[in-house]
């Protein structure tokens, strides 16, 4: 019957899928970082060739999802080619509290990242402008901050201060590294005393919040940038989502603690797509290098 045909036809009709709600992003892990020939976007499901991903700075060309990137890739994406000089590469963790299983965790992270520690620091140029740079690696024990990360970042701040060169710091961290107990908590204080000196000396500090930046890192240097940028969708907050939901016994909105959410609440300056980050940083450094008026000194 004619009616049946219509029904059947309707059955076959393809209707554009409503845009998917931004999925809650799982915490960054090593296996999420694209390595194979094809990668599936966890947000929109698009199948992406590795080359295509690289061309888009490891973001999804169809939905804009930002794939986590390790420190080495981040440096390639940010600094002028060949300009990076790494410093303090030998600084690494010990097991100061004799915490169970910590050495094994460190060894695994070192193997997975080809890094000795969860942050890489050094100097180079961005768009031709001198900068000191620090990058936290989300793959290294959740980008957690222990004594070694604290020391590396503090040295980067001290050098920036001594040379009066701006410091650009990419944050990614689950927070302080639990296996180092109160020593890792004190890295928040240690980096903050160094930042106070930088602040007093009038040296520019820019933080770029990448997914996820939480806990002790969020509650110290990540929030102390003169300018705070964030990648789209990056989670930026003090307490973890699960802890908050348990505390208030309510389900939080999907966009809670995303870069867009914290921008709306006044906690950051700007959300910048990874493909635009170099240009934005260059612009900031250029304006900064132009100095200010004499009467303000």
């Amino acid at each position: 019957m004619l009616k049946d045909i219509f029904n059947k036809k309707r059955h076959y009709a393809t209707i554009a899928q409503p845009p998917r709600r931004q999925e809650r992003r799982p915490a960054a892990t090593a296996d999420q970082i694209p390595e194979g020939l094809f990668n599936k976007c966890p947000t929109c499901g698009a199948l992406l060739m590795s080359k295509e991903l690289q061309k888009h700075a490891h973001t999804c060309p169809s939905c804009g999802h930002h794939f986590p990137v390790g420190a080495q890739v981040r440096i390639e994406l940010t600094l002028d080619a060949g300009s990076f000089v790494e410093e303090d590469a030998g600084v690494t963790s010990v097991n100061p509290l004799a915490f169970p299983e910590y050495e094994a965790k460190l060894a695994k992270a070192q193997q997975a990242t080809a890094l000795l520690e969860g942050a890489v620091t050094g100097c180079g140029t961005i768009g031709g402008f001198q900068a000191r740079i620090g990058v936290m690696d989300p793959r290294f024990i959740m980008g957690s901050m222990g004594s070694a990360v604290g020391e590396k970042l503090t040295r980067a701040m001290e050098r920036a201060c001594a040379e009066r060169v701006p410091l650009v710091l990419f944050t990614a961290s689950g927070g302080a590294r639990m296996q180092e107990g109160v020593l890792s908590l004190m890295q928040m204080a240690k980096t903050s005393v160094a930042l106070e000196r930088m602040h007093e000396a009038g040296v520019l500090f820019v933080t770029v919040i990448t997914h996820p930046t939480t806990g002790g890192v969020s509650a110290s240097f990540a929030s102390l940038g003169d300018i705070i940028l964030a990648e789209p969708g990056a989670m930026f907050g003090f307490a973890g989502r699960r802890v908050i939901e348990q505390t208030i016994r309510q389900t939080l909105p999907d966009d809670f603690q995303t870069a867009e959410f914290v921008l709306k609440h006044g906690m950051i300056d700007k959300v910048v797509h990874r493909m635009d980050l170099r240009d934005t940083l260059t612009s900031i450094l250029r304006m900064h290098a132009a100095g200010g008026v004499e009467s303000g000194r």
């Binding site: 010990v94 109160v182 020593l183 509650a219 003090f238």
Partner: protein
């Protein structure tokens, strides 16, 4: 006995027996003095035995005991005069952090601290001493005020952590704590913090970047509460004992790790057993330390503060 901890039960049991014997002595007229004395000696022995060898987890339990002096009790017990000051001038007054100006041995001092409640009702009002951003901003306002008038700042730390709620996140819990860390690094006046009970994570540190850090004998201080560490590391909060034992959170640990400058002794069994004694021990330590810090030129003080935090942490360089 209500309010006693599991490891205190044998002591509580003996105390109850002594009371019974005393009552019997009164009603029957039979002399029981020898028996009572024998039991009291046994109590003293047991006290010594139990409290001289507490496990880290037992210390955490003592640090959380209801009836320990709160920040306001310390301040009021220490000062001849005290005025509480309120509000962050931006959003509201957070009852989980208190502060004000007091006279300590004739010297005006700005006091700030986490405030737990003395009962359930007050605890709810004070959010169990877990502060919102406005609490940290009130603290910062009072610290700047102290700096302006060259008053030393004394901070009492007693919190399980900063409040992990949605409203706290929306108003910038991270920024509020971070701003305090940096401001305290450069505060141009002597600062002392005392961990009186719980020193839980960034919420504690937000009042704790100071020239001197003292810890009460049974207090703990760490990156995270043992239960939360256990739940993150082993997905099992009942492993809190194991976490407490692994994380080096006790007063002697903190001194050994170079975090705390000294331990303030508590009455046997904890500050809650004899508040006045606990308060006077804190007072003595503050008076002594303030005298020491007051003599230092500000540049030297700031340099020493920098060096102290600069050296924190244990790592290696290959």
């Amino acid at each position: 006995m209500a309010g006693s901890l599991e490891f205190e039960r044998p002591i509580a049991e003996l105390r109850r027996k002594v009371e019974e014997l005393r009552a019997l002595e009164r009603t029957s007229g039979i002399a029981l003095g020898d028996e009572i004395a024998r039991l009291e000696a046994r109590i003293a022995d047991l006290n010594e035995q139990v409290y001289s060898d507490l496990t880290p987890w037992q210390r955490v339990q003592v640090a959380r005991q209801a009836g320990r002096p709160t920040t306001l009790e310390y301040i009021q017990g220490i000062c001849s005069e005290f005025i509480e000051l309120h509000g962050d001038r931006n959003f509201r007054d957070d009852p989980a952090i208190v502060g004000g100006i007091g006279l300590l041995d004739g010297l005006p001092v700005t006091f700030i601290g986490h405030q737990k409640g003395r009962d359930t009702k007050e605890n709810i009002r004070r959010n169990f001493g877990m502060a919102h951003p406005e609490g940290y901003r009130k603290a910062l306002r009072l610290m700047r005020q102290a700096e302006k008038f060259h008053r030393p700042v004394v901070l009492f730390i007693d919190t399980a952590g900063a409040y992990p709620g949605a409203t706290a996140e929306e108003r910038g819990q991270s920024e509020a704590i971070a701003a305090n860390l940096r401001a305290m690094a450069g505060l141009r006046t002597p600062t002392i913090s005392v961990v009186t009970g719980e020193g839980g994570s960034g919420g504690a540190l937000g009042l704790g970047v100071t020239d001197r850090i003292f810890v009460l004998e049974y207090a703990w201080y760490s990156v995270i509460a043992p239960e939360s560490a256990a739940s993150i590391l082993w997905k099992d909060s009942s492993q809190a004992q194991r976490a407490a034992a692994s994380m080096r959170i006790t007063a002697p640990d903190l001194v050994e790790l170079g975090i705390a400058d000294g331990i303030i002794p508590e009455p046997k069994g904890g500050a809650q057993k004899d508040k006045d004694l606990a308060i006077s021990a804190v007072r003595d330590k503050l008076v002594e330390t303030l005298a020491e810090l007051a003599d230092l030129p500000i540049a030297e003080l700031l340099q020493a503060r920098y060096d102290k935090y600069r050296d924190m942490g244990i790592y290696t360089e290959r």
